[in-house]
């Protein structure tokens, strides 16, 4: 029987320097943070990161892992501007800034193995002025000119789900699935971290099929990572940890505060991390945020 289970470090070992990595979730919601911290502990470097960005981008930027960022925003939701991202931007980190929908469209083009998809989005803005971004004219009577949004092909996608079986069947139970499906389809390899890895029958797929975003054929590796989205949310299992996000945000103040944060929360085992952020009960009982 197929068994795609592996460890966080085994996933990182399959990622190559200089590759393009898509990260699922949105802002401070359902980010594969345990995997991001494992990348920070590794020698992996020069990544092109594609993300609806949150603390995933901030951590990778603070650790100098990003060669280029492809993004539409980076935010911690309740903390509107991600301070580590802000530091990196102001230090000149290379970026390709897009509209949220253009990013969606670029991933969709890659998912469909199309070179581009036409869109109106970007017309009239500085985003359309990006060198290399071409336009295309409708061949029909309207003759309208569109931006030809190029495919954003990913070498790997890193996604956090609620449940998985060892074969790579998954459930994403949160209220908003975001664009994880497109990230998965746009990627050569997809690695999921899951709150729980369970036997297939326990997925109760007849009832839960709507939470199954993609087929197991896309999935390269499955990692059981309980609380692996913390400090972002994996609702309904647990909510975002605003208290920890503030601690994390404060660590952007200076190189010393960042080093102290990394020593306490990054260069530790997963068990030490969970203890350092307040333990299992703390994470399980985090308050539901308002938006």
């Amino acid at each position: 029987m197929l068994d795609k289970r592996m460890s966080l470090d085994e996933v990182v070992a399959r990622l190559a320097d200089g590759s393009t990595i898509g990260i699922g979730g949105w802002a401070a919601r359902r980010k594969p943070m345990a995997l991001i911290r494992a990348i920070l502990r590794s020698k992996l470097k020069d990544l092109t990161v594609v993300s609806y960005g949150g603390p995933d981008v901030g951590l990778l930027a603070a650790a100098g892992k990003i060669r280029k960022l492809i993004f539409a925003f980076v935010s911690l939701d309740q903390i509107p501007i991600e301070p580590h991202f802000k530091n990196a931007r102001q230090a000149g980190m290379s970026v390709w800034e897009l509209d949220e929908g253009m990013l969606h469209w670029g991933l969709r083009a890659a998912a469909m193995r199309m070179p581009f998809l036409p869109t109106r989005v970007g017309n009239g803005t500085d985003i359309a002025a990006e060198p290399g971004l071409k336009t295309v004219k409708s061949p029909y009577a309207d003759a309208e000119e569109f931006i030809a949004m190029p495919a954003i092909k990913l070498d790997a996608a890193l996604l956090h789900v609620h449940r998985a079986d060892p074969q790579g069947n998954t459930l994403t139970l949160s209220p908003d699935p975001f664009f994880d499906e497109l990230m998965g389809r746009a990627a050569d390899k997809v690695f999921v971290t899951a709150e729980q890895v369970v036997p297939t029958a326990q997925l109760e797929m007849t009832h839960n099929s709507r939470f199954n975003l993609f087929e197991r054929a896309l999935i390269t590796g499955v990692v059981e990572a309980p609380f692996g989205a913390h400090p972002s949310s994996a609702a309904p299992d647990y909510q975002l940890d605003l208290g920890h996000l503030k601690t994390y945000a404060d660590s952007a103040t200076s190189p010393e505060t960042w080093a102290a944060y990394a020593a306490k929360f990054v260069h530790v085992t997963d068990a030490e991390y969970l203890a350092a952020v307040g333990g299992v009960e703390h994470v399980r009982t985090l308050k539901t945020p308002t938006y």
């Binding site: 925003f73 935010s75 109106r120 009239g124 309208e144 931006i147």
Partner: protein, 263 residues
Amino acid sequence: MTINYSLAELLIVAAAENWRNVGEVMGFGAGTIPRLGVNLAKATFNPALMTTDGECFYTTTPVGPGERATPENIEGWSPYDRTFSTLWRGKRVAMVGPTQLDCFGQANISAIGPHQRPKVALVGARGFPGNSIHHPNSFFVPTHNTRTLVKGEVDFVCSAGYNPARWLGGKQPFGLDLRIILTDLAVLDFGGPDHAIRVRSLHPGIRFEQVQDNTGFPLLRPEVIPTTPPPSAEQLAIIAQLDPKGMRKTALKGDPPGDRRAS
């Protein structure tokens, strides 16, 4: 009888006008005052509006800032994928908060200074580019000055405006429809020749010159400029119901009074 009202309450009532006569669409107001504006519109003159809990559920009655929807109030689903579908279809009317806005109505929330190495990095363009050319948009600028309403163009054009030099093929983008700019001093609109920005109404106690002096580009001055209508007692009561936690009281620095003739 004189009714006392705060500037926040005046602005909520003025913001609500953005969703009058727009029909059954998704109403979106970014930030406390625009959100209470869309909620007031839904609670009074446009009950057909669809509004969300700020995350991904439509609710039957408006959910205020800092509040959560009760399960029995949820009537529909709007994850981000569906939100894009809705706005690309044009079924949305928004009021958003730019960091910079220029004479063309072009908005910036990306970066102050050079884009490659900004003086101040902001959140990023988010959905501004797509929003701006698919459905009606208005702007909320709580601090009206020459740093927010800027001379020349904004530092990074995130949303399209009435600037033909930037339009593909020189044609006005498909759904570009800018409505009002609501500030702490006045209501501006795009009603001048070629959508030039003019003063539609002045808030009580504010003079045209004050508005012009705090704006980085020339404003059209109609012969008669009305005063922004103050909230009615009924509207104030509804606003209090829509905002039981009093979020409006901390939305503007110092929670100033709405009528500034005395001050």
